[in-house]
Each structure stands twice: as structure tokens, then as C-alpha cells.
């Protein structure tokens, strides 16, 4: 199993690379479409701002994005990577995303400390690929100031709560996302990444 981690050039992706390796895959850190071509699945990592992220993704990985869009290759977006899958974000202005999932990315409410930083538990709301190995109440490491509001509620397979309900895991066809960082979530995170790899094999 080969996984391409798309390097958006926005910071360190060593952790996500190691996380995917620990889950049992061979990782290619892809700088462009060509390197991502031979992979069985892709991971869109979760560092940086939305605007820079979407620019880098469309600029460097246009063909890979098209393949994801056509459902030809399974994709996992982590944190910002998950937010990029949505229609639109309000982080630092209005920016269009990939629109693979209909919905918006908005700032956390002023009633809570921002960023939402630390370990929070999830509630599994429906059976999903990524939730197959984790139980209700499992803890994951979150670091984010914006969160996703999907239009179709059925894409949310697990949620957490921080001032508002927050989708923690989303799934739609071969498109997956986690708002938390599985690569920083100890053993529980490793299990989620492993479930993604197993789901991607099918």
C-alpha cells in the first residue's frame, strides 16, 4: 500500500508522514502530480492557512484533485486538509475550496478559547470506515480555529463539541476527513489511519 502525502509547502509534514507509516503504509511525499500518480491513496495534510492551502493544492496537484473528484483514488484530508474539501471557507476572507463536500468552514464561536487545542472526545454518530476501530468517547488531538458545517448531515460520522457541535470525522464515498490530527493522537490516531488504509484497499 502506497500513500502519497501531498506536500503543500506550508510547513512540516514529517509527523503525518510518520503517522501513515506507523499505520502500515509506504509513504511518498509528493511535490507534484507525477509523484502522486503511483499511489493507492492520498493524504492532504493539515498545516497552514486555507488560502495558501487551496492555492498550493490546485496549483501543484490539479490532476490528483481531478482523480479524487472522479472517485478514482481515496483521499484523506487532515485538519486544514479536511476543510479544503468543503465549498467555502471564511478564514482570512472568503475562499473557495474543492467543493467535494457541500458546506462552509467558519470560525469557532467567541464563547470559547480559540484555537480549540488539546484532546477532546468524539461521539460516533453513524457507522463509518474510519470509525470501525474506535469506540465512542475516544480522545483525539485537535488544533483548529475554524470548523466545518456540512450541508448534508449524513457526511458526519463522528462529532465532537467545543462551544458548538463540530464534525470530527467526515466520509463521502472515497473522500475522508478528520478535523483532529490522527498522527498526533497516540494509539487511537494510529487506528484511525489504519482504518483509512484498509478502507482505501477496497
Amino acid at each position: 500500500m502506497r500513500v502519497a502525502v501531498l506536500d503543500l509547502g506550508l510547513g512540516n509534514i514529517l509527523s503525518i508522514r510518520r503517522g501513515v507509516e506507523r499505520a502500515g503504509a509506504e509513504v511518498i511525499v509528493a511535490q507534484g502530480d507525477q509523484e502522486a500518480e503511483g499511489a493507492d491513496a492520498v493524504v492532504i495534510p493539515g498545516v497552514g492557512a486555507f488560502r495558501d492551502g487551496i492555492r498550493a493544492l490546485l496549483g501543484k496537484f490539479g490532476r490528483t484533485v481531478d482523480r479524487i473528484r472522479r472517485g478514482e483514488i481515496p483521499a484523506l484530508g487532515v485538519c486544514l486538509g479536511m476543510q479544503l474539501l468543503f465549498t467555502k471557507s471564511f478564514e482570512g476572507g472568503d475562499h473557495l475550496g474543492l467543493n467535494l463536500i457541500s458546506g462552509e468552514v467558519v470560525r469557532l464561536p467567541p464563547t470559547v478559547k480559540v484555537p480549540h487545542m488539546g484532546w477532546n472526545s468524539i461521539r460516533v454518530v453513524k457507522h463509518g470506515v474510519l470509525t470501525s476501530g474506535v469506540s465512542d468517547g475516544e480522545y483525539f488531538y485537535f488544533v483548529h480555529s475554524y470548523y466545518c458545517i456540512p450541508e448534508e448531515i449524513e457526511v458526519t460520522v463522528a462529532e465532537t463539541e467545543y462551544g458548538v457541535p463540530i464534525p470530527a470525522i467526515i466520509e463521502k464515498g472515497a473522500v475522508f476527513g478528520t478535523q483532529f490530527h490522527p498522527e498526533k493522537s497516540g494509539e487511537a490516531g494510529r487506528i484511525v489511519l489504519k482504518s483509512f488504509l484498509e478502507g482505501a484497499k477496497r
Binding site: 512540516n12 506507523r22 478559547k113 487545542m117 488539546g118 497516540g186 494509539e187
Partner: protein, 266 residues
């Protein structure tokens, strides 16, 4: 579902070795910061802070090497502080795999560094560490250079300014209580915690689980950092968490003991 309070063991590192590292039964090398960090991860630590206390500045490579090895092995977040004087220093540590850098003296001398770091890496990567010493009733002065130099800046005001500049978190150390094992400075912790809208890590003074409980409840801190009580194996992280949980403080309980792989980068 609640965001849990974090327990953060701190490792003091001098020239790449843990200062006064003690021998846990399952560690091959008690002085190895990576091994110590992994032991804390197994105990259920939520994050790790490495504080580089090396006096000379010619050990940059040693630190970067430690960060790289830690990032390779650890599967929880970690912060590196001490000796980060410039944007270039911060960048190297972050690119080597640290999740956050903690800025202390450099942030006071050049607050733009906070903004610059936050704009490029995101606020969540930039921790501002404040060493505060009480100067009177409800007033604390910020100290720099490892607590050797006063700044005449007020600690609570500096915390608020740091947030404004883009800090994602405050690591607040009471110099009066640090090393005392008499508990955290609850008044200081509470004032800073209420004064900012970013997470605050209480530091300095932990001698037992009750002190940590107080910092997280009375002090309203989001996380508690401790060194010696974990370091000398007086309590494990798991024991502290059990104590907190029994008293209704939300903490993460580790259900899967980490079996992590043991291979090392060549």
C-alpha cells in the same frame, strides 16, 4: 464531550541530554530525551515540553537532532523552548518536526517575532513563555534571560499583548513558586487565564496531584506543566490523571497502552 485539561511533563535538556534523568525500569538510557518522552507518552501524557537549557549557543545541531528523533518516535504533540532567538531558529525547530516553539526572551525583545511566526506557521505553533515574579499585591513582573533580568513589564498585560500579537498559547511560570513544590501561583494563573482568550499552561511549583488540581480549577488553567514530580517518579502521569478524574476534572484516559514501533532512523 469536553475538551480535556492537559498534563504536560517538561524535560530540561542540556547538550542533548536530560538533566538529572532518572532510571525508569523500562528505559535503556535515562538521559535520552526521546526515551523519556516516550515513557511519558506511555504513561498518558497529553503533550511534552522540552526546555533546552544549554548555556552555549553552539549546540543548535544537537537540538535539531533531538527534535528530529523525537518527531520520528513520538505520536503526541511536543513543544521546544529555550534558546530560540530568531525566526530562523523557530523555523528550523518546527521544520525538524516540533509541533510548537516556545518563545521567551526573544518575544519580549522583539514581539514582531510572535506575529511573524504566527502568520507563517499558524498561531497554534507559537507559545509565549512568561517567567513572572511577584512584586506586590496582584502584580507580577516579567523576567527574561532565564529569570535573571527584570523587564518592568506586567505579566498579565504582557500575556494579553502576546495574544494580540498572535500567540496561540501562554506558558506561565511563577518564579516565586518554581522549584518550591508548594503548588502553583493560583492567583497569577487565574488572572492570566481570565485575561486572555487563548489556552494557558500553568507552570512552577507542582509537588503533588492536589497542586495540579488547584491550578486547573481555582487557577482556571487549561493545562498543567510539571517536571520533578514526574521526573523523580513520585507520581506517574496516569496517577495524576486518575486523581483529577476522581474529582471531576475532565482528562484523557489512555485506553490503548502504546505499543509503538521501536525502530530508529538510521
Amino acid at each position: 464531550m469536553t475538551l480535556t485539561k492537559r498534563i504536560i511533563p517538561c524535560l530540561d535538556v542540556d547538550r542533548g541530554r536530560v538533566v538529572k534523568g532518572i532510571r525508569f525500569v523500562n528505559l535503556r538510557d535515562a538521559g535520552d530525551p526521546v526515551e523519556q518522552a516516550l515513557e511519558y507518552e506511555r504513561q498518558g501524557a497529553d503533550e511534552i515540553v522540552f526546555l533546552d537549557i544549554t548555556a552555549s549557543s553552539d549546540n543548535r545541531e544537537t537540538v535539531i537532532d533531538m527534535v528530529r528523533k523525537t518527531a520520528y518516535e513520538l505520536s503526541i504533540p511536543f513543544t521546544v523552548g529555550g534558546g530560540i532567538r530568531s525566526y530562523a531558529d523557530a523555523r528550523r525547530v518546527l521544520m525538524a518536526g516540533a509541533d510548537k516553539v516556545s518563545l521567551n526572551t526573544a518575544a519580549v525583545q522583539n514581539p514582531r517575532l510572535i506575529t511573524e511566526g504566527a502568520e507563517i506557521f499558524g498561531s497554534q505553533c507559537i507559545v509565549v513563555a512568561i517567567d513572572a515574579k511577584r512584586t506586590g499585591e496582584r502584580s507580577w513582573e516579567v523576567y527574561t534571560h532565564g529569570g535573571r533580568r527584570g523587564t518592568s513589564m506586567d505579566a498579565v498585560e504582557w500575556a494579553m499583548k502576546a495574544e494580540e500579537m498572535g500567540a496561540g498559547e501562554i506558558l506561565l511560570t511563577s518564579m516565586d513558586f518554581d522549584g518550591s513544590k508548594d503548588g502553583y501561583d493560583l492567583e497569577l494563573t487565574r488572572l492570566v487565564s481570565e485575561g486572555v482568550n487563548i489556552p494557558v499552561i500553568a507552570s512552577g511549583g507542582a509537588g503533588n496531584p492536589a497542586h495540579i488540581y488547584n491550578a486547573l480549577t481555582v487557577g482556571k488553567a487549561d493545562a498543567a506543566l510539571a517536571a520533578s514530580i514526574f521526573h523523580y517518579a513520585e507520581y506517574t502521569v496516569g496517577e495524576v490523571k486518575r486523581y483529577l478524574m476522581e474529582r471531576g476534572v475532565p482528562v484523557r484516559v489512555v485506553r490503548h497502552p502504546n505499543q509503538g514501533d521501536k525502530e530508529r532512523p538510521a
